[in-house]
Amino acid sequence: MAYLGWAARKIGGALVVLWLVATAIFIGIRMIPGDPAEAIMGGPGSQASAEALAAARAEFGLDRPIGVQYLMYLGKLAQLDFGTSYSLKRPVTEVMGEVLPNTLWLALVSLAAAWLLALLFAAASMRASRLGSWLGSMFEIIAAAVPHFWLGSVLIMLFSSALGWLPAVDNGTAAGLLLPVLTLALPLAGFLTQLMRDSLAAAMGSQFALAARARGESRLMVFWRHGLRHASLPALNLTGWAFASLLSGAVVVEAIFARPGLGRSLLSAVLARDIPMVTGIALFSALVYILVMAVAEGIEKFIDPAGAGA
């Protein structure tokens, strides 16, 4: 029962967050200069006639008072109707459905790659000399700090222009996915390693690690069975956040590597003042974030008996 109550509170909270996000988007996008009707007429600065603009305004309800528009907008969202894209003239859900798998795939592979890299870095740092360890942590700090657009451009210059090893643009092959994934995964890996390193060192120096060593387990076994499990917890807790950061990183990475995806849709929609498209993607991103966080928390509650009764 406690579990159901928790779920109900979560869903209620999520709905409030979604409503706030939807309202913020509605207000925000109307405060930016530029007439939404122009977005419908093929972009800003259109020389469309008065009749054409009036027809477009009527079609999309832009001639109604702003309060009515807001209520209509919420009403449609409540029915999961995201409307029709102003610039593409196609249903927002259809456009999102087309590109969503690309972005999710990119984010998931990058998340996995970041974890793999972080584990390797963390393990390596255990064996490293003091200088090696110092170099390692410098690398992590730099990796965690570099912006995606810089890293992506450098990788292209290095591996496509100079060496010619990898394609600069996505061509559907695994090789085409490598550079975008590295661009997203490296900064995240740097961040995750930083989180893992301290708790790993603490775990490896702890009583139970010593005891395990005394039982005759190899150093590698101890690292794998005890150290890593402890060290991973703080990083695992941040997976929800990490996934969200990958989705936002996708905006940049998809533009640089010319990959179709949600991020690229968002970028062009913002520039075109395509309100339904921006709203749809922003709400969807908020929903994904809430879901990932809730699932992570739910699993934690389910596994941990101490938490479930609370």
Binding site: E38, G43, P44, A52, A54, V99, I156, P167, A168
Partner: protein, 554 residues
């Protein structure tokens, strides 16, 4: 000076193949791939990969909206009624002949026989009517093409191949207007589909057709196997295109695009930037096509409707204070030629006056003194009655490339030396149009592409200071001059070509000598292509390349 019009579609293929590289080298001043390859016989087959840096069109039908990215892609599958020959003269294309009545109010267009759309529909006069009506229908949401056919009031069809257009006023720019991709002719049967279907795959008569559109990624074009060239080229081994198809990719990042060209992932890139063109010139494997757009030159307009540029002396002072040539030469790596004209160098009726625009700092200072800007404030700027000599310059980051933005920053520094404070505001396109609509600018650079000198009327007639319903107006310099208005109206209506040239020359003189405008260079339009690509060079009247003559070396 008129550059070579490269509407080389009508050049014979032998001429095109033999001379194109020479013509290009002459025009662009850069090397094309080894000329030995260019003389090879065209070989059919292969798919060319094109990478566009422009925003992906939201609709592949250039009637809808009507921008340059749409022109670039649609010229492969749609054709206009008229085009230009190698000398820049308007000639019939899908049309066979045309004549205009004495009073200039009736334009008769006769179509060629035996041409079909790729959906099997025959090209008849019904198509001309359907297309002009499609452009004029508010539901189409045309913002470029509908202006071009704005004076067409009635369309009658005396027979299957003849259309008779009745105009509200004489319009000697109509054929130029009907040569632009935004007024291309589509299948009337296909136009009857709903707009989404027509946007996804417009149906035309061109050498290629739209096979599919993978949104955000690419448009797949395939050869039209039944293509009939309206003006057949002698000596071609086949009347259809040589290429099997074109993969039209969208790669927004300039650096990625160039890397993809270098690694051979793509064959042609557009929106090539000065630094890339310059480095490509050193790379023998890459060819360069310099295709300046028609219409207006790229220029800075000075808003004469408000202080301080309501005073011609202050306008001239600003212009004289800048060292434009040095800036263009260094920031554009000598890939852009300085212009002293309101019109593009491809426009035969453009006039230039270099003497008006030479740098003269002493004169600039003297003019500002005369205009009463004699005080200096604490920051070193000139002032009058305690008010600083300050001008606002909103710059669209969508329309100004990084080199141009740097150029404007140089101008900012040179203008400061004579006492101007120039406030550059980098804005996205919507905010930029918003600033213009609210008259929050003293300086602005706004490109305008159109075929023919009638663009002058759009940009400098006082009617164009009246905003469109969206708030847009084209006369950013806010020129209001009765004599100029009269000249521009007469120039558009006369049927005498010599008189037309003379009237437009007088009109340009008024604008140039009034210091409303600082011309910089042609609207830059550079393409780079790989070694395999042969026969590049033909363009439409708006300088978008066509690929009918192009083939891939084996």
């Amino acid at each position: 000076m008129q550059k070579n019009q490269r509407a080389a579609r009508v050049l014979s293929s032998a001429l095109a193949l033999g001379l194109v590289s020479a013509v290009l080298a002459g025009c662009s001043g850069t090397d094309t791939p080894s000329t030995a390859d260019a003389t090879a016989a065209p070989s059919a087959g292969g798919t060319l990969v094109y990478a566009s840096g422009d925003a992906e069109p939201s609709c592949l039908d250039p009637h809808v909206g009507g921008n340059y990215p749409q022109a670039l892609v649609s010229s492969q599958y749609l054709e206009p009624l008229f085009t230009k020959d190698a000398e820049g003269k308007i000639i019939p294309w899908l049309a066979e002949s045309t004549e205009v009545s004495q009073d200039g109010l009736t334009r008769t267009i006769k179509l060629r026989e035996g041409i079909s759309f790729t959906d099997g529909t025959k090209l008849t006069s019904e198509a001309v009517k359907a297309n002009i009506e499609h452009l004029q229908d508010p539901k189409t949401a045309s913002s470029t093409g509908y202006l071009a056919v704005g004076k067409v009031k009635k369309i009658e069809l005396p027979d299957e191949l003849t259309a008779k257009l009745t105009l509200s006023a004489p319009d000697n720019a109509l054929l130029e207007s009907l040569s632009m991709p935004w007024t291309s002719i589509e299948s009337p049967k296909a136009l009857k589909r709903d707009q989404a279907a027509n946007c996804a795959a417009p149906v035309g008569t061109g050498p290629f057709k739209v096979e599919s559109w993978e949104h955000q990624k690419q448009v797949n074009l395939v050869r039209n196997e039944d293509y009939v060239a309206p003006v057949p080229e002698a000596g071609r081994s086949q009347q259809t295109a040589y290429l099997d198809g074109i993969t039209w990719r969208f790669i927004p990042e300039a650096a990625t695009r160039y890397a993809a060209l270098q690694s051979g992932e793509v064959d042609v890139i557009d929106n090539a930037q000065p630094d890339t063109i310059s480095s490509a010139a050193k790379d023998n494997a890459l060819g360069h096509l310099d295709a300046p757009r028609p219409g207006a030159s790229n220029r800075i307009e000075l808003n004469s409707a408000k202080a301080p540029f309501d005073n011609a002396k202050v306008r001239e002072a600003f212009i004289r204070s800048l060292d434009v040539n040095a800036g263009i030469s260094s920031l554009y790596f000598d890939t852009a030629k300085r212009s002293y004209s309101l019109l593009s160098s491809v426009e035969p009726l453009g006039i230039s006056d270099e003497a008006l625009f030479t740098t003269d700092v002493a004169k600039a200072n003297a003019l500002l003194d005369e205009a009463g800007w004699t005080e200096r404030d604490a920051a070193g700027y000139r002032a009058k009655d305690g008010k600083r000599l300050s001008v606002t310059f909103p710059v669209s980051t969508n329309q100004s490339v990084p080199a141009e933005q740097s150029l404007f920053q140089q101008f900012q520094a040179s203008a400061k030396a004579v006492g101007f404070e120039v406030k550059i505001e980098l804005l996205d396109l919507s905010s930029w149009y918003g600033a213009l609509a609210k008259h929050e600018y003293n300086l602005v650079s706004a490109p305008y592409t159109k075929v023919g000198p009638s663009v002058l009327r759009i940009l400098y007639h006082s009617d164009s200071t009246v905003p469109a319903p969206s708030g847009y107006f084209a006369n950013n310099a806010q020129v209001k001059n009765d004599q100029l208005d009269k000249l521009l109206t007469e120039a558009e209506q006369t049927s005498d070509e010599a008189q037309r040239a003379d009237l437009y020359a007088q009109a340009q003189k008024i604008v140039l000598e009034g210091y409303y405008v600082l011309p910089l260079y042609d609207q830059q339009n550079h393409f780079l292509y790989g070694k395999k690509v042969q026969g590049m060079g033909a363009t439409t009247t708006v300088s978008s390349p066509t690929y009918y003559d192009v083939f891939l070396a084996k």
